[in-house]
Amino acid sequence: MDLTELYQDLILDHGQKPRNFGKLKLYNHDAKGHNPLCGDNIHLYLNLDKKGIVTDLSFEGSGCAISVASSSIMTEIVKNKSEKKAQELLDAFFKMIKDNNDLKKIDLTENEKIKFQSLSGVNKFPMRVKCATLCWHTLKAAFDNQKQPINSEVID
């Protein structure tokens, strides 16, 4: 297992300088996520318009490089996509991380694909899967307006 596969430059960059960080002024959905093992915390805010498009989203929290980078990348990719599309991405993400599936069928720009796939190295580090998936679990919870915080230890 090569650590540089896990900690790619893109991950380190997003981990150190997360995009869409902070609390949205206007949001109509939010949810919290927690990974007790690493102590990763995330609070996700999003604005879903009437057509079901995520017009804006952001996150607050702290965590390891994997968890922060995954959150940052997720917000970038999901922004301006429909809830339905976001759900598809979520499924694709889990398949990539857990089953090492590739993304052939996923309709993303080349740039988006690169970002998305930068997290695929986690697949070889089972103990860190929870770090990468936490934000996606939380995204789902936000769509569902779920009140109880997500606990990725129990879910994954």
């Binding site: 927690h34 007790p36 093992l37 089972p126 103990m127 230890e153 129990v154």
Partner: protein, 400 residues
Amino acid sequence: MSISVTSQFPIFKKYKKLVYLDSANSSQKPISVINAIDNFYRSKYSNIGRGVYTLAANATEDYESTRSTLKEFLKAYNGDIIFTKNATESLNLVAKCFGENFLNSGDEILLSELEHHSNYVPWHFLRKKKIMIKFIPVNKDGNLDITNIKSLITNKTKIISLTHISNVTGKKTPLKKIIEVAKSKNIPVCIDGTQAVAHTAVNIKELDCDFYAFSGHKMYAATGVGCLFMKDKWFEKFNPFLGGGGMIQDVDIKNITFANGVSKFEAGTMPAAEVISLKFAIDFLKTTKIKNIEKHENELISYAISKFNKMKNIIFVGKPDKSSSLFSFNIKGIHAHDVSTVFDQDSIAVRAGHHCCQILHKKFNIASSLRVSVGVYNVKQDIDALCESILKCKKLFKIQ
């Protein structure tokens, strides 16, 4: 006989003459379980759940997969299994957590006169809250008398807790009928399955009970681990049982929020090696097949009962049941402990005492009895040796 696994148990190699008839107390361990424990400590040891490193991740996986194995083995699909230290702790957990949030002064708990102290004392503690305990009576055959079950279950009955199989008479409790009545009144049911899990097929989903408690050491696993099945809905409804590491979500100087699911009830360092041994014990049970085990044990007990019936001055505790793995008796005129000492001289391990069922013994007006309980490793010759030792005992005490 249908199965022959005795050679898998090292204790019988060490003590060639050992006649172990005390499996209801605790079972001997197969080599696969012993080796698994040894191997875990030698080559895989790590604390579970807390380390990011590989050794810890692997140990955690072994631990968690034991939980899945157990759930599948017992068809416990509508809830989850909490690891405790023994069946006693499992039952204390239910009594305390249920009592705390769901019992008030004047409420009633329904138990039976068959219960092991571990399924009575924890409920007894709730009497401090002015809770009433009622008992389903036992008839002279040692069976639960449920003719009046509908009047025993009143509007005040808030929970019913019963043994699955009596550890004195070996009989199965008529759970189905009782649970039916309980369900019709929305009363949760707790089952003490400690004497069932290694001796008969248990299907928790079908039973549809809310709680099911048992111990690892009576099902060929290590000491130091118990289990509690709990239906999903109770995980949120109960407060935690013990407080400490591993069961929290966030802690500060003023407030604490607790973890969800099984973690909420598994405080402190868990018995990793012991839990993992349970997985191997279940593999052993699955390979030997519980159906075959039940048949084998019932045959041995039938054989014993028919031999006992030909002897004089044997008094059974209740009517012995041929479809079981145990029964209890006394020799008229000789105290159980004296008998046990004679047995011991012949390397026969049989338990003498009240078997933690004083209520039942008092009901039958006896202080103690001898319990014969078999496991997968027993053979007909064990029963023959037992009967011979009884004759010796009678001769020594000058009784026919």
